[in-house]
């Protein structure tokens, strides 16, 4: 347990070494060192998981340990930001997922990025990302979470904008960073609120909590540690003493603001515009960052602060509502997209919606949703990463993202085809594979916590997911090659296939991991399948598959007829409900045109003008007095005498 800091530590040191020393020397070596570092870090993650569960056993809530921490930045007496590692069931789960997927993506990238001129730079940024993601996962307090949150944002910005010679990639990177940065604003204000009330509550309940937590953490608990924030006494203190803001309790406001940060990072509805554009980055980056790890950071943060979210009540309803809406919204759009990576991006959006709604439906009393969300996160990471990597292999072979350029690749890319099929089955929720189990858990959580609407939408979206996933499967793998590029597409090199196969295996068997046991939240441990929910879910999936088979496998262009039938509706959905255009309009016209430009003008003319006016005035005064000096003696004498007369009069008045 002591060496927990190695998991984020190794990628950090390898980032520094590779970035500063190895990259200039030899790019090849940089690639291998970076990948090796990730594999070592994965090994440590597994060993920690093993130690933890062997030590504390499964089936009950494992304690949250902070085995290693040091005092990083002391704001005030009890407000010290520490850097350390927090080990508890969900952080272990995340550590395992992140390290595995990251290692496999590193391996895959060696093949995918071979020959690219920015090869070394790519791996440095990938290592930076892995370090900041792992730092985020093991963060014991909310400030370290925010620090790594920003670092993750920056590394995603650098990686999306990797092909910096492509203006669209640069714009996408910029968009991603600014949108997430805007969301982090909410997160920052949430931290400020929690920090303030934490400090206010500390004198009263700090000592008790510190004493409780004595055994678990190596340094005294601070006001911003998760252990302190999530503690029921703190929640109670804030709910009772702090006033209400706009009708909501201060804790609720803080949690909603923090959720705004999570919505930004996990691309929930209002702030989802950056994820589809983020596909500009290289495909392994999309696989790692925009499918498996970074986007789930938001879900992880909500899970981490779940006790305070639950205590506050209303934030969980917000989470549930936003999750469900995004889930449906993204699934509908995914059905109409042509670029394979855009489809997968929207499917990620929809699956994230699933995780959020699972958390939203969970309550303090029956946290089944919390486990379901974590389980879905676990399984989704594998099959979504696999989907992206397979898509990468497709793009690598066909050199184009459009699914309409592909066709009949079954024979040309057999391994990719099989792994892609496994992943599609998993995501569609076909029984034996992992997707089925985790989606089933979510649906069960929705039902048990009496959320019928959420359950209905989830079920409908399950069908939709199956539909759009098999749509791209049939278009790209079945039928005959639609373009000459598809004709001589070639199978990906071995180094790319190994990760595909590994992920495929994980996607298939991940379902059997008794997540309830590990997270210790399922009571009585009956892990069996609940047929009354499983059957409708599988049925929805099968209907979806049948529908897409009917539309896209036949020779006749049935889907064209359907598209024309939907008419206007189809184009609206295809353009992603014009949300991007609205954002563009707001930023371009409202902010740049009506705020920034007038301020620049105002500053240049009014404020600057005032100073120049002041200068001109003194000049004018000088010029005004000039004519007094006419140069003629007589005027001077006239002035002199009238001056004398004036003073005599003055004196006269004074004396009399």
């Amino acid at each position: 347990m002591r060496n927990a800091w190695l998991v984020p530590g190794i990628p950090f040191f390898s980032f520094l070494i590779v970035g500063l020393f190895i990259r200039p020397l030899s790019e090849k070596a940089a690639g291998w060192v970076a990948t090796a570092a990730l594999f070592v870090s994965a090994f440590f993650a597994y060993s920690i998981a093993w130690d933890y569960f062997s030590h504390f056993g499964i089936g009950h809530e494992g304690p949250a340990l902070v085995p290693w921490a040091f005092e990083w930045l002391r704001y005030q007496d009890h407000l010290t930001a520490t850097i350390g590692t927090l080990i508890d069931p969900i952080s272990i789960l995340l550590m395992v997922v992140v390290t595995t997927v990251s290692a496999l993506v590193h391996l895959y990238s060696i093949g995918y990025m071979a020959g690219d001129d920015g090869y070394g730079r790519y791996f440095t940024f990938l290592n930076l990302f892995s370090f900041s993601m792992l730092g985020l996962v093991v963060a014991p307090n909310i400030v370290q979470m925010f620090v790594c949150w920003e670092l993750v944002g920056v590394s995603s910005f650098l990686l999306i904008g990797y092909y910096y010679r492509k203006p669209s990639a640069v714009a996408a990177g910029k968009k991603a960073f600014i949108v997430t940065r805007f969301a982090d604003l909410g997160f920052l204000i949430g931290i400020l609120i929690l920090g303030y009330f934490g400090i206010e509550a500390f004198p009263h309940i700090g000592a008790k909590i510190q004493q409780e937590m004595a055994g678990l953490s190596s340094i005294p608990i601070q006001a911003i540690d998760f252990a302190f924030i999530n503690h029921p006494a703190t929640a109670h203190y804030i709910l009772t003493t702090a006033g209400t803001v706009l009708g909501l309790s201060t804790l609720a406001v803080a949690c909603i603001l923090i959720f705004m940060g999570c919505a930004g990072k996990s691309a929930m509805f209002p702030l989802h515009i950056w994820l589809p554009d983020a596909m500009e980055g290289p495909t392994p980056v999309s696989a790692l960052i925009h499918a498996a790890t970074m986007v789930v950071a938001g879900v992880y943060l909500v899970a981490r602060l779940f006790p305070s979210f639950a205590a506050a009540g209303t934030p969980l309803d917000v989470v549930a509502f936003i999750g469900t809406f995004t889930c449906a919204f993204a699934a509908i759009i995914a059905c109409t997209q042509d670029d394979i990576k855009r489809v997968l991006a929207f499917s990620t959006l929809s699956q994230l919606g699933y995780m959020m709604l699972a958390l939203g439906v969970a309550t303090a009393v029956s946290p089944l949703g919390h486990t379901a969300s974590m389980f879905h996160l676990f399984t989704h990471a594998f099959f979504k990463a696999l989907l992206f990597l397979a898509a990468g292999a497709l793009i690598h072979g066909v050199h184009s993202n459009e699914i309409w350029d592909m066709g009949g690749l079954r024979k040309k890319l057999p391994v990719t085809h099989l792994t892609f099929l496994a992943a599609t089955l998993a995501i569609a929720g076909v029984p034996p594979l992992s997707g089925f189990f985790s989606k089933d858990e979510i649906l069960r959580a929705a039902v048990e916590n009496h959320h019928p609407i959420v359950f209905g939408v989830a079920l409908f979206v399950a069908g939709l997911t199956a539909f759009y996933m098999f749509r791209i499967y049939f278009i790209s793998f079945w039928g005959d090659a639609r373009s000459e590029k598809a004709e001589h597409a070639h199978e990906a090199p071995a180094v790319m296939l190994i990760p595909l196969i590994a992920l495929a295996l994980l996607a298939i068997f991940a379902g059997f991991v008794p997540m309830g046991e590990y997270l210790g939240t399922s009571h009585g441990g009956h892990h069996g399948i609940h047929w009354n929910i499983a059957i409708p879910a599988t049925l929805a999936g099968l209907i979806g598959i049948a529908l897409s088979a009917f539309m896209y496998t036949g020779t006749r262009e049935r889907y064209v007829a359907v598209a024309r039938a939907l008419g206007g509706m189809y184009t609206v959905v295809k353009n992603k409900f014009y949300v991007d255009e609205v954002y563009l309009f707001v930023t371009k016209n409202i902010i740049f045109h009506y705020i920034a430009r007038p301020i620049a003008w105002f500053d240049r003319h009014i404020v600057d003008g005032a100073i120049n006016l002041y200068a001109w005035l003194t000049g004018a005064l000088g010029r005004g007095l000039k004519p007094l000096q006419t140069g003629q003696v007589q005027t001077y004498s006239a002035w002199w005498i009238s001056g004398a007369v004036f003073f005599i009069i003055l004196l006269w008045m004074k004396l009399s």
Binding site: K626, P627, Q629, T630, G631, Q632, V633, Q634, S637, I641
Partner: protein, 109 residues
């Protein structure tokens, strides 16, 4: 004010007279455009000042001669002043081809 009432010329009569002459001279000084005209007016003013000395001497210090001596000195100074003024005037005339004082304003601001 009431000393003026009597006809016989008292101190105030004289003072008013010289003051009037001085003011007329001043007016001439200010309005004359010709340099010589200005000189003439100054001569008038100097003369009225000398007159004043003699008046005060006569009315205020009959036994003394200081007033007259001062008058003599004023006349001497007036002479010197005219010589220098005319010399300058002649030089300026040659240079500026005009005697108009208002044109000689090189020293303006």
């Amino acid at each position: 004010m009431n000393e003026l009432m009597t006809l016989t010329p008292g101190l105030y009569h004289w003072l008013l007279l010289t003051l009037l002459l001085f003011s007329v001279g001043l007016y001439g000084l200010l309005t004359r455009r010709n340099a010589v005209g200005v000189l003439l007016s100054t001569e008038l003013m100097l003369n009225s000042a000398a007159l004043n000395f003699v008046i005060f001497n006569r009315y205020m210090a009959p036994g003394f001669v200081d007033g007259s001596i001062m008058a003599i000195f004023i006349i001497a100074v007036a002479a010197a002043e005219v010589v220098v003024a005319m010399a300058i005037f002649v030089a300026l005339l040659k240079l500026k081809k005009t005697a108009d004082v208002t044109l000689m304003n090189e020293l303006r601001g």
